[in-house]
Symmetry: C2
Subunit: 497 residues, 2 copies
């Protein structure tokens, strides 16, 4: 009989009937694990070995991998050899100091080590009892972060995966508060007015996606005009709300951004909070990138007013040295969040369901990884002062680069630099205006093709703009200097190196 | 001047101006990493050292941790000491063979090692160019899995974090197809009929949450009655649809579950697919747990008809030895998924945006971790045969336990056992019917209090039922036998050990 062949468990994987592959023994796990740790140490210590932006052609990785999974198990060595041979050339190196595209981020050493533990423990913190450690550490670390950021005690935090999901929950809370019975009755076939969410024309696309998913439609989002510094104009917001009210549209929420994605512009959140108060609107503050800077006393002025928000998102995986993904969501209305999302099926109903906080009640995802562990490791290993120093260093580097742009003929800075991102373009006198977009695109491509740094671009006021973003822990003046040299050499060579 | 103090980069963390804490050097990273790898090896090899269900009291972990983040950075040793002292007692040990609650799962050795690499590489695969390796490996591994599962080539896969998010996307696609212009116009203030999604009374709560989030309301979900085996009744589904159509409600989608959460019952998906075809409804198959079993030829009959679905979710983090989180979503309508979710802001528009697949276009989350790496490592290291053997072994163990229940007076099995979960209750002759719920609750509590195993319970037909779920790679006949001994001893001692 089948069951009679079941043998006693052997460590790590245990044998199951008829196992065709040899399970990994503890000694093998140690050997492979040590080898990987050594590989990671070398990887982080020697960024010069890698082109920051991957050079593979589309489809090359797919072509280099077998078309089907193997029938028989393969050694970890074989797998790791393919990782190095096929996959590493297909990496764009987010965790290297030459990465200055988008928002540069860092998987720091303590964060990486914490993720190793997280993976091994495989916690699923849907209920307090399914992981008291993950559940309580989440509250503790979010409390630490909250006070470092200067957010009042009235806020309560939850960890999600991404800012897209945090903002989605913020807008779902706004809808829950504004539309009686929406949880049960929904939006369809009811005599409801059209509704509107307001965000600046520079707000993140996740606001659009959230509004679409929630059934409000893209027309349910108004993109409020910005001023010359790409900040939301409170007067334009007030006008948009008034126009909507006059035409029977119900204003729902405002998303103010502290550190927009293109230019890191700072919406005037104090003025916006005034309007939200007066109008009874939910105020969500998207500080996914720049929020970390609120730890710096000298930066706190940018955040004046965010303490009046209904919800705030700050992403430690962006500028707080925490491996991706970890988004910190704070709201003044945790009961409303639970009202929008709590559903306790029978198979999860326990005595402690009533006593303790259960993370499954606070969002769309039932399952939750043990994400708090990496944030805890980062906050403790660096310490608040260590984090502040690094953030201040990044801002200083960006300011240094901005000063160079400002001081150099043929280069133009196109937005203020409140944090660690500089938006600029090459504007040589001998390139006609209508050729500048293509010229700047060629510069970015050529600089990225060197493999030494990776910059991204965006469009502002209809023009192509280059972005240099400081955020990797290892980025120093030497890297920024090198990026500047490459940019100038490329521009002097007229867009090709 | 501030910048003049910027010193050359030192490995791993690099110095930033005025750094107060010493960054972790490569040698320190190696030392701590090796120590953690050794800890994990010991952790997995010696489950007997841990009570499976945590014994901490609510609040104890919070109380044992400092109230605030430290100002000065702490050594990794100090942090790890607190991990062992404070956090480990607060773990419920999902990655141990005595875990037989909910759906047992496994973070296998190759999966854990892959997650270490993932954390260090910190890939963010929003665009192909931001991680060609993560983008292409996702397609390759999902293709491998798709063919192992026997899903036709017409399906196309995406990796999300959880089945909750996969099912949300399935329902969003159904809404996109059924409601013209919903992306732009939304659901509010339009002359739309009420809409309905259908799922069995045993379907997962994520269907409810998805419907709520999408603005359809809980009333927009009909819970179709089940038969004696807890499977959706196609006749009842047909009736519910007819009643809705007669009263002007627009049917939208059906969620059929292969392996429901309470009993792992199998909805008759072929019959349901017929109805969906005839009615023009989106068919989403939730096979989050049981889908892995489709790899076994002898199990394939349970899945007959799922190849006709519009979308399917299978969670490798449930029963495919992959560390949490990784949910595989397949749909026949990838263009519709992109139509519902694609938004390309200027700062992400590149030449390859047009040529290549960009994962950000396929869902609500802009950012994507390098999740494919762990699935790739699992599929290669175990091989298809190795995975099939383990799954067959789990099913055999569950069948063995079910046979014991069936053969033993005073115990009653309350549902069929198609996969690796057994639902049963103690029904001793001398306990009155109205005392059986409390009796079974006491048994579960007492058995869990031993720390040797962790079982969960649910309610079926208004009665408390015990669940024993096999799914951890290390669980063998010895563990199942021990669980059975504890259950019988506890019942004989009348619910307290």
């Amino acid at each position: 009989m089948y069951f009679e062949s079941v043998r006693p468990r052997i460590p790590i994987v245990g044998e199951v009937p008829g196992s065709l592959t040899t399970p990994m023994t503890p000694d093998e796990f140690r050997r492979h694990g040590h080898a990987l740790v050594d590989w990671v140490a070398e990887y982080l210590a020697h960024p010069e070995r890698y082109a920051v932006l991957s050079r593979v052609e589309p489809g090359a990785i797919t072509a280099a991998l077998p078309a089907e999974a193997p029938d028989l198990g393969e050694s970890f060595e074989a797998l790791f050899a393919d990782f190095e041979r096929v996959l590493v050339p297909g990496l764009t190196h987010w965790n290297q100091p030459g990465f200055m595209a988008y928002f540069a981020s860092t998987a720091s050493a303590p964060g990486i080590l914490a993720e190793l533990l997280s993976a091994a423990l495989n916690q699923q913190a849907m209920l307090w009892r399914t992981s008291p450690a993950a559940t309580e550490l989440e509250s503790v670390t979010l409390g630490w972060l909250q006070r470092l950021l200067g957010l009042p005690d009235a806020f309560s935090g939850v960890i999600y995966d991404t800012a897209s999901i945090s903002t989605l929950h913020a807008l779902a809370c706004a809808r829950e508060r504004a539309v009686p019975g929406v949880r049960v009755e929904g939006l369809v076939g009811r005599a409801l007015p059209r509704m509107r969410v307001y965000a600046s024309a520079q707000a993140h696309s996740s606001v659009d996606k959230g509004v679409m998913l929630l059934g409000l439609g893209q027309n349910g989002l108004a993109h409020v005009p910005v001023d010359d510094a790409f900040c939301m104009r409170p007067d334009a917001l007030r006008d948009a709300i008034a126009r909507d009210r006059a035409s029977g549209v119900q204003p729902l929420a405002v998303v103010a951004t502290l550190g927009t994605t293109a230019t890191t512009s700072v919406d005037p959140v104090a003025a916006i909070a005034e309007i939200c108060d007066a109008e009874g609107l939910w105020l969500h503050v998207d500080a996914a990138y720049a929020g970390a800077a609120a730890m710096l006393p000298e930066q706190r002025a940018h955040f004046a007013g965010w303490e009046r928000a209904d919800s705030v998102v700050v992403n430690p995986h962006k500028w707080l040295f925490t491996p991706f993904d970890l988004s910190a969501f704070y709201t003044r209305h945790p009961a409303l969040l639970r009202a929008a999302f709590s559903l306790v099926p029978d198979y999860l109903r326990t005595a402690d369901t009533e006593q303790s906080r259960n993370l499954m009640d606070t969002g769309i995802q039932l399952g939750r990884r043990f994400r708090a562990l990496k944030l805890w490791a980062v906050l403790r290993h660096f310490g608040a002062d260590g984090l502040r120093d690094r953030l201040a260093g990044h801002i200083a580097l960006a300011q240094m680069f901005a000063d160079w742009i400002d001081a150099t003929p043929g280069w133009t800075r196109v937005a203020p630099v409140p944090f660690s991102v500089v938006c600029f373009r090459a504007t040589p006198a001998d390139v006609p205006d209508d050729g500048l977009d293509a010229f700047n695109e060629r510069i970015v491509e050529a600089v990225n093709a060197t493999g030494e740094v990776f910059l991204s671009h965006t469009r502002l006021n209809g023009q192509t703009v280059i972005r240099l973003a400081i955020g990797h822990e290892g980025t120093t003046a030497a890297h920024v200097t090198r990026a500047w040299t490459l940019l100038r050499e490329t521009a002097a060579g007229r867009g090709t190196t």
